[in-house]
Symmetry: C2
DNA sequence: TATCTTCACTAAACCGGTTTGCTAAACCGG
DNA sequence: CCGGTTTAGCAAACCGGTTTAGTGAAGATA
């Protein structure tokens, strides 16, 4: 009897009110099937007993949870350290709440995304940054749970939302090229598990391709040694830049695939007594809310982060609610370069060489 | 038969393997009660059928969900726009994942926290920023769900985690006083529902008390007209400062109860062609990751945000797992002022008057 | 007056698992 | 060869609701 405040069950209400369980259920779900005064009386008894239908039991019979899952390939504690994810969640949450759905975050428990997924009670899943070598996608499909992939390798049978990574990256690189830079360092986002090979269709690869395309157009190659990766956080950016610096890399500009890392990289550069953009230019990616407010204001590739989350939920609910899995939508949102203060002409370069691209 | 890939049930596996449901259940949960080869065979059949135990059914019988809820009094879409919440979630998520728990975010659905709560399937709840006039706390207790209150009015029967709001605020104000400021504007965080009266024991009130105590000590009163509130976001800070400015308020310093709002206030000040800290000093509260990186680096009151989240989960799980509701813990974490570049002496003040506090 | 509806409510089946109590066969020592 | 213990597996009850198929009484219709 040490049980903490025993939760009344539907049978308790039924007994107390002198009716059947069915009547109690009706009183809550279809009061019109009961005499008005009976319904009121049952609800009074329920109220007085402090009865609330057990949500799990309800889920079981109604075969829906009114919850959507957000699947991340990395621990939430690392994911949340990237402000990008906060904004994305904002979009997801807004759309979910609007439709009356709750949010459940699913991340690898004890290293296993599969086991975390199999215990999650959701009607559908928005997966972000899941590379296709993750076997979880297959597992989810087999469990019959609708899924929408965001920033992942798109699969034809599932809805997907992505952005123009290649175009955005190319614009960032072209901006630097216009400023005279030929000697760059690329800082990318590392794949979820360090052991995992880089997904050739993943976000990191796509952005890298954009960078390389732009530089190739002016006959400059970005060798692999000029590409480093790290976790998408401020600390990750600091570590990545310092690591490259210690390896003797001395670029005039840094192309970073995440604003959080870019801010870290700027910190590291400043700690090396370099000025931005005087000595080194930095371009980020994402355009998080704080990008205009850091010092110097960050030049970056804008992507509609909140919208990305909201659209993903919209696509997902279309499948969940209408059971219409026929033609999953595939969305590609636009990116655009926002030039702020963290980029400038190559140091020592004569001014006229970069005329016309200067702001 | 339009059903999407029908999910196999335990009975299907049992039939296919020629055993009882019980045996299948054993094969997964207590294989030692089965002959080894039988267990293997059953698991093979399950694997081949793509069977996974239905998580909701499992929750129902095991009477636990392995999920903890994070309760917010405002829509997630607004909560997530404050970087503070991202860091807090980081702490919560880290501790939860470590113990094998998933995370479910609970926010008012269609305006009702109560209905959102009653459909959430969680073993316990971490509530943040819930003022005690929220009747939900009572509802949750009646549902028998353990709860830990964070940044709320502490109730003796539930665990709680808070910080030294008064002390932190006092330190911030004293810092300004030391720099010669006597004429300040306070920007606070508005209560969840605009209609709600300000909770006299809430975070906003506590911090305000700290500010006022410090100024009272030097004989200066902060009148109510010098206190404005808004949502805790960059935009909220911009709007709050502009609003005050339009009302003719011309302080030499601004005390802001959230870093996000402080960053917004700095933006608004700069747009008014004022320099920081030359014309106006700004002090924030929280010390979010980006505080050192904004322009100018933000002087702010540090609080251990991640630890706050982690400790809340720890307290909660102590109750959830050990069913030991006897002596809920009440934690108060320390705050400390971090002086960076957004504060300086009162403009026009002779230098020696502030000597000794200058950095 | 006999039959047909409608009304208000209920008993039982069901959702998809887990757990308890039991049985039949195999094993084991004396 | 016999009683006692283990072992391997099953049937049924249970978790806490919802839903289906009915039931008896009152009211309406012929």
């Amino acid at each position: 009897m040490e049980q903490r405040t025993i939760r009344p069950r539907i049978a308790d209400v039924a007994r107390e009110a002198g009716v059947s369980k069915t009547a109690v259920s009706f009183a809550f779900n279809s009061p019109d099937r009961l005499a008005p005064e009976t319904a009121v009386r049952i609800r009074d008894v329920a109220e007085q007993l402090g009865y609330t239908p057990h949500p799990v039991a309800r889920m079981l019979t109604q075969r829906q949870t009114l919850t959507i899952g957000v699947l991340t390939p990395q621990a939430l504690s690392v994911i949340f350290s990237n402000p990008f994810f906060g904004a994305f969640s904002e979009g997801v949450a807004g759309a979910a709440e609007e439709s009356g759905y709750g949010l459940h975050f699913i991340s690898p428990l004890h290293g296993s995304l599969a086991s975390a997924m199999s215990r999650a009670t959701v009607d559908g899943v928005v997966a972000i940054g899941l590379s296709d070598d993750h076997p979880e996608v297959e597992q989810i499909r087999r469990a019959g749970v609708p899924i929408v992939l965001v920033d992942s390798t798109a699969l034809p049978e599932h809805g997907s939302v992505e952005i123009d990574d290649v175009g955005g990256a190319r614009a960032a690189a072209e901006h630097l090229i216009g400023l005279g830079h030929r000697d760059v360092l690329v800082i990318g986002v590392e794949p979820p598990a360090p052991s995992l090979a880089m997904d050739p269709d993943g976000v990191t690869s796509r952005r890298l391709r954009g960078y390389r395309e732009a530089f190739a157009a002016v006959g400059v190659e970005i060798p692999d040694e000029r590409v480093v990766v790290g976790p998408a956080s401020i600390e990750g950016g600091i570590a990545a830049l310092n690591g490259a610096w210690e390896d003797g890399v001395r670029p005039t500009a840094v192309l970073v695939m995440s604003d959080a890392m870019a801010i870290g990289a700027m910190r590291a550069l400043r700690d090396l007594r370099l000025t931005i953009p005087g000595d080194v230019s930095v371009v980020g990616f994402d355009d998080i809310d704080l990008a205009p407010h850091v010092d110097p204001p960050l030049t970056t590739v804008h992507q509609p982060i909140r919208r990305k989350g909201a659209e993903a939920v919209r696509l997902l609910l279309a499948v969940v609610q209408r059971r219409d899995q026929a033609n999953p939508e595939h969305l590609r949102l636009e990116t655009r370069l926002i030039v702020r203060g963290s980029t400038g002409p190559v140091p020592g370069q004569r001014h006229e060489e970069v005329a016309g691209v200067h702001h």
